[in-house]
């Protein structure tokens, strides 16, 4: 009886119910097995960038035909770089392995090879190899796995012995394939068909002279570069030096100044909100009166290159992939001072009074100095902290009278760098030597008291004023011809250096607007781009983030703070 009633219902709704049942089942099946069937891109990234497989082990394989390795540092990113666009080093060209390039037949884009063919100073063998490139069909997952394991490409050729042959299990290989399929297949944010967007971050309370000097230099540079770019865009058929090959890469620079609000706690939100409104491809230069760390962290989180901001306290110990700095600032100066003190021959014990306030620009280098003297039995380091100049005077007098050993005082003025000059006679009365960082030297336009000049030593992480750098003439001429007042030569020349690197970097990446690729170019070329004479040497390398690595210790000449002479060689701590 029931079946009699049900049958017509089932007849009508049966097929529909079956379809619904299948759909629900499929949905459940998909969700449940998705984790197992979809390769893990995160694992692929770990393999590629860190050389660690799914079991947490280092990559294993063979390189150069017979050198077995078990070493996470033989990872893909080591040679193919994080961007996947490859490298050319030591006469070897490492091919790009981005998703677009691997999974299509090989193309021969002169624009991509231009630098390697015409601009890099490589040897004959390298050039011959560049010109003897051969065709290969697109990789598939299978043929790429074969290439990685056995070193044979889909045209049947052996890969160079430089390329390791890896031992990877199928899960790891699938993960790596998934990662490579999506590696650098899209431009990074901050660039569109006509424009590349750049910004400079400026904090509140930055000295207006410095701010103007930096921004005026940038304005001139961007204006002249855009004129040149627009000229190239307007005349696409005028192609000296293969210029038309690069037409797809031309972008006008849109450069904005991001002024930060008064309260540093609001900086992260301000940066985030401006970035949301208009993402930038990179930050260039920048300065704040205080801690640069919030901007550094923003760049790390959002993976935005932050090129050569002006800060004397780059964050130490934070992860740093995206920020490049001229040097390690006051930390470097503290290390150099420590080196200088350690190198003193006198075996007599001494007290080093480490004078600092609570602010980071004072306390952090002070801590570094203490660490750098650790273990040297001659030096007893005593901390003297102060919040005001009066407090400094009081504490100094108390402490100095207590010491029996000769005193060397190291003073980290922080925001007191102008006020500190007046206190030096008091400090000099009880100390045989006073060491100060370079901001104190530069902040004091008035002369230091003549009778204590012999006791004053400054750490100085810059090129000496008497040194000769041919490119300085070129940069000065560039500024003079544009009627750009040179109010702060070091600052402006450094701004020019940073802009120059950015310009050449953007030219080099052609139309592959990958931020990692830009950074890799800058790492490679920082050393032979024009050094405008602000530092003895500026150089980077894979993974390096501080372009200048040393400092002098200097004294005043004839008590004229514009004239300094070094008391030893360039110190590399």
């Amino acid at each position: 009886m029931v079946s009699g009633l049900l049958r017509p219902i089932i007849k009508k709704t049966g097929p529909l119910l079956m379809l619904l049942g299948l759909a629900a089942g499929g949905y459940w099946f998909n969700g449940y097995y998705r984790e197992i069937l979809t390769p893990d891109i995160a694992l692929g990234e770990r393999l590629y960038q860190q050389g660690v497989d799914g079991g947490g082990h280092a990559l294993q394989g063979v390189t150069q035909n017979d050198i077995a390795f078990d070493d996470a540092q033989f990872n893909c990113a080591q040679c193919h770089r994080r961007s996947g666009f490859g490298s050319s080093e030591g006469g070897n060209y490492v091919l790009p392995v981005t998703g677009t390039i691997l999974f299509k037949p090989r193309t021969f884009e002169r624009a991509d090879l231009f630098n390697k063919l015409f601009k890099e100073s490589q040897g004959q063998v390298f050039r011959a190899r560049m010109r003897s490139a051969y065709q290969r069909p697109a990789y598939s997952d299978e043929s790429l796995a074969r290439a990685i394991r056995e070193g044979v490409d889909p045209s049947g050729r052996q890969l160079s012995p430089l390329m390791p042959r890896y031992r990877l299990n199928d899960t790891d290989m699938a993960a790596l394939m998934a990662y490579l399929h999506q590696l650098s297949i899209r431009n990074d944010p901050g660039v569109d068909e006509q424009t590349v967007y750049l910004a400079t971050v400026v904090g509140p309370n930055v000295g207006s002279a410095d701010k103007t000097a930096m921004l005026a230099t940038m304005r001139e540079f961007v204006e002249w570069l855009n004129l040149e770019t627009q000229g190239n865009l307007d005349h696409p058929n005028f192609s000296p030096g293969y210029r038309s090959d690069f037409a797809k890469a031309f972008r006008l620079w849109r450069h904005e100044v991001w002024e930060l609000p008064a309260d540093p706690r609001q900086w992260p939100t301000e940066l985030a909100s401006r970035y949301r409104r208009q993402p930038v491809f990179a930050f260039i230069g920048g300065m704040v009166n205080g801690d640069w760390t919030p901007i550094h962290d923003f760049c790390e989180t959002n993976r935005v290159p932050c090129l050569f901001p002006f800060t004397d306290l780059p964050p130490a110990g934070n992860t740093n992939r995206y920020s490049m700095y001229f040097n390690q600032g006051l930390i470097l100066e503290a290390k150099a001072m420590g080196r200088f003190l350690r190198a003193q021959k006198d075996p007599e014990p001494r007290t080093v009074v480490n004078i600092h306030s609570g602010e980071p620009r004072s306390s952090q280098p002070a801590k570094t100095l203490t660490q750098s003297l650790h273990g040297d039995k001659r030096y007893l380091v005593v901390d003297l902290t102060f919040e005001s100049i009066e407090q400094l005077r009081d504490q100094w007098q108390k402490l100095a009278r207590q010491q029996s050993a000769p005193i060397q005082a190291v003073i980290w003025p922080g925001t007191f760098d102008k006020a500190i000059a007046a206190e030096l006679p008091l400090l000099a009365r009880y100390a045989e030597r006073l060491l100060l960082p370079s901001p104190a030297l530069e902040a004091n336009q008035t002369r230091f008291p003549a009778d204590i000049a012999g006791k004053l030593y400054f750490s100085y992480p810059y090129e000496l004023p008497t040194a000769y750098h041919p490119h300085a003439f070129r940069v000065r001429a560039w500024m003079n011809t544009r009627d750009l007042a040179i109010e702060n030569q070091r600052l402006q020349f450094n701004t020019y250096y940073a802009l120059n690197l950015l310009q050449f970097g953007l030219e080099h990446v052609v139309d592959h607007f990958s931020r990692d690729y830009l950074l890799e170019y800058i790492e490679n070329e920082a050393e032979n781009q024009l050094n405008p004479g602000t530092f003895p040497r500026l150089s980077l390398g894979p993974g390096q983030r501080f372009a200048s690595k040393g400092a002098y210790i200097v004294q005043l000449v004839n008590n004229d703070q514009r004239q300094i002479h070094p008391v030893g060689d360039w110190i590399i701590p």
Partner: protein, 216 residues
Amino acid sequence: MNLSTKRLAGICLGLGFCLPARSGGIDQAWTLGAPEPAASASGPSSARKYQLGEAQYQAPDVGLIDADGGGVALRPFLAAEGPVLLQFVFVTCSTVCPLLSASLSSAQTELNALSGGKHRLISISIDPEQDTPEQLRDYAKRFKAGGNWHFLTGPPDDIKAVLQAFDANYSSGNKMYHKPLTFMRRSPDAVWRRIDGLLGKQDLIAEYRRTMGLSD
């Protein structure tokens, strides 16, 4: 044109195209050889991918610094008895130096057996401002360096002098363009052998044997 003239014209045209191609002009663009023969196997029988040379290099009289921070006067250091293998590397190098050092690293055991522990390996940093003794220590650990493998850094001008002395300068003064060089010398009064290129483990050992005058 009559038919025979057309035929003659056709033959001339055909020869005009083919002859230059036969002489290797045009078809070179399309039949470029494979960089390596498809059947190449590892081992000494495969084509050598590095270049050899010999020269008398005079080390400059400079003071370098070893991985423990101690001073090393280079000239007397190199003038000590025994075979020496020398390379120029830098710690942050991505492509070439890890392979140069890996070739030495992998060959250490066999080299020790061949030399009775009397040989020395020397790696000199060409990025001395970055490669402090601490950096060199980490690098040495990575390549499992034995006690007779020395890592040197020093003042940038002195390092430049050493590069100059070994004819190992690189263009533009940019270390990224350095050459993958390995130098070997049997004894202080022998000539330096210069190997330009990357070596596998067997290649390195074979070249060492040749340097020492041992039979292959």
